[in-house]
Symmetry: C2
């Protein structure tokens, strides 16, 4: 038998349960029970073995479509997101989910909607029409989302976002506020108590508007709150904030740091909204003759590729994406009470923090 053929006799057709039953000399139901290991049907061990052997001989594979039609369960789950599967940024969530689902023998559908509600609706309709057993609904940025009603028709867990209607729907998100506090702790422990700036707030008078600002990301306010609260608990506060008017990328981080330096500020530590901004900030510092970490300490958030590639490597509060994906899949499988879980953002081990100069 070549494995390229559907069956040993070389014909293209796939082997059906009826053929297995016939070969084993039993009824189709007996064959079905035997192959599904249904002990409650009290088949004789001998019959079971005979059916199994027949199935092996014929290279039988159950037709999952037929099984799904009959049972209503497909053994599939869909990952519905804006950009998660198609961009590298939050992509590790897919890994976590994939791992856990595989352990449970489930297959994953992947769709990205590019943030288009109509596209999303069509995908959801199509997926539900395929009897998917559950939905993992993910967002690239941590934010509040309005979950389409049709997604509620099957078990649902949100990844990296929270439902506007609150904890009625399960979700797994990074603990942004804890991360903000952790950033503060790292600096405080190194001896920093002043000259600490934050890079990456919205420009004054602007809380949204175009592009992703309109999506209401939760990261900024929560990180900032955790950071300030922790600093204040230690009897200090931020020296100031530097706004970024657009994407949190390398170029804008660079520009923000240049503006700060041009104002004559000599920061001792900078907390950056993400790794890309921190890299840009680091580039600007270097060009200004300032050395990280001896002149200026740097902390950021994300803990991705860029943090590791930076010289020195960045201390960054890592988004626990794999863990989010895995845990969300877990909750989906558990089928328990709805709940919101916040996962710790641990620091990467970098070398961008040192005690202040003086």
């Amino acid at each position: 038998m070549t494995s390229e053929d559907a069956r040993p006799d070389g014909s293209g057709r796939r082997v059906t349960l009826a053929e297995v039953a016939e070969r084993a000399g039993v009824s189709r139901s007996a064959a079905s029970f035997a192959l599904n290991g249904r002990l409650d049907q009290r088949l004789s061990a001998e019959t079971m073995a005979r059916v199994r052997r027949a199935a092996d001989d014929l290279g039988y594979r159950a037709n999952v479509t037929a099984k799904t039609l009959r049972t209503g369960r497909s053994g599939t789950v869909a990952l519905v997101s804006d950009f998660v599967s198609s961009t590298s940024f939050a992509n590790s969530m897919v890994r976590g989910a994939l791992e856990r689902l595989r352990e449970a023998g489930l297959l994953l559908f992947t769709v990205d909607t590019q943030g288009d509600a109509e596209v999303e609706q069509r995908f959801l309709d199509d997926l539900i029409a395929r009897d998917i057993d559950g939905i993992l609904y993910a967002s690239m940025f941590t934010r509040r989302v309005e979950v389409p009603a049709s997604a509620r028709r099957v078990p649902l867990v949100l990844m990296n976002c929270e439902a506007t209607e609150g904890p009625a729907v399960s979700s797994v998100i990074p603990d942004e506020e804890q991360a903000g506090a952790a950033a503060a702790q790292l600096l405080l422990q190194a001896g920093h108590d002043r000259g600490i700036w934050f890079v990456g707030t919205f420009p004054p008078g602007r809380t949204g508007g175009d592009a992703w600002h309109a999506w209401g990301p939760m990261a900024l306010p929560l990180r900032l709150r955790g950071l300030r609260d922790a600093l204040q608990d230690a009897g200090t506060d931020l020296a100031g904030e530097v706004a970024i008017d657009d994407d949190w990328d390398v170029r804008n981080g660079f520009a923000a740091a240049q503006r700060l330096l041009a104002d004559g500020v000599v920061p001792r530590a900078l907390v950056c909204i993400n790794d890309a901004v921190a890299i840009g900030v680091g580039n600007a510092l270097r060009r200004a003759g300032l050395h990280v970490p001896t002149d200026v300490s740097l902390v950021s958030f994300d803990g991705g590729l860029l943090a590791a590639a930076s010289d020195p490597a960045l201390v960054s509060l890592r988004l626990p994406q794999v863990e989010i994906g895995r845990r969300a899949a877990e909750l989906l499988l558990e089928h328990g009470e709805a709940r919101v879980e916040r996962l710790r953002m641990p620091p990467t081990d970098g070398a961008s923090i040192a005690p202040p100069r003086d």
Copy 2:
């Protein structure tokens, strides 16, 4: 009608074609023809409209599982890879494929095998048992792969890899050799004709062995050949090669450059096997007091996030991942003759190349 309900009457059950037919006062077959727009059946326009209206009124969604069982076509494709969907590196291929498949109304199953042949076999069996319409078989590194026979049972296109059995199976891969030549051209055009080193060959006497070396990546030999051929065409050659014994990452790039400099070599240009290595090399150069690009020019391959984050931004021959994904999906849909397509790797626009000093 709340869209949360399966049907207007609020019951959980989904609306079936039979119910639509009944409401429209036609037979199930007529309803089927109308909803599938089968003009060949010459239904009266009036009937068609009536059926459509009934379907709308009831919120009818065809049960795709039943349709699949009947037709043998599921409207799904599977992306089977080692690590592509679960890591950020080659992930943009998913985007390209996803885009093209969506245009064709197909849904995508995503599975990653972590390079485990047994896991892969199980996934393939499961997918085929679900009547998938095709397979996109992808590899994270460009390499030759042994495609499991069972994958050949459905239309198949390889992404970023070539089948060991040659062009009998379609594949879309980056044109690595062209990229090597392009790297040479970029340097030659800037006036470089000597002191050009390559960073990232295998160590002497080692062509494989552990980890990914065993997977036989095609990138290195092809890039190197394109590079050397182009240099030789211009009457020059590499000044030498620097080996990297392990992953092509930032740390190893750093170490390689330090070794080179410790040997007293003063390179004028370095061609690095990928962006990460180039970043490491850049870090080492900077620490040695050498400035990119005025003292040393840098070119690399990949053209990813890191190339853009580098300061200065790297000139890098970009892996056309989105294009590979899109084109592979295209070939899968076309159903034409098997063929191997090589896609150009265009240079990113960076600032890491300048004319040599002297």
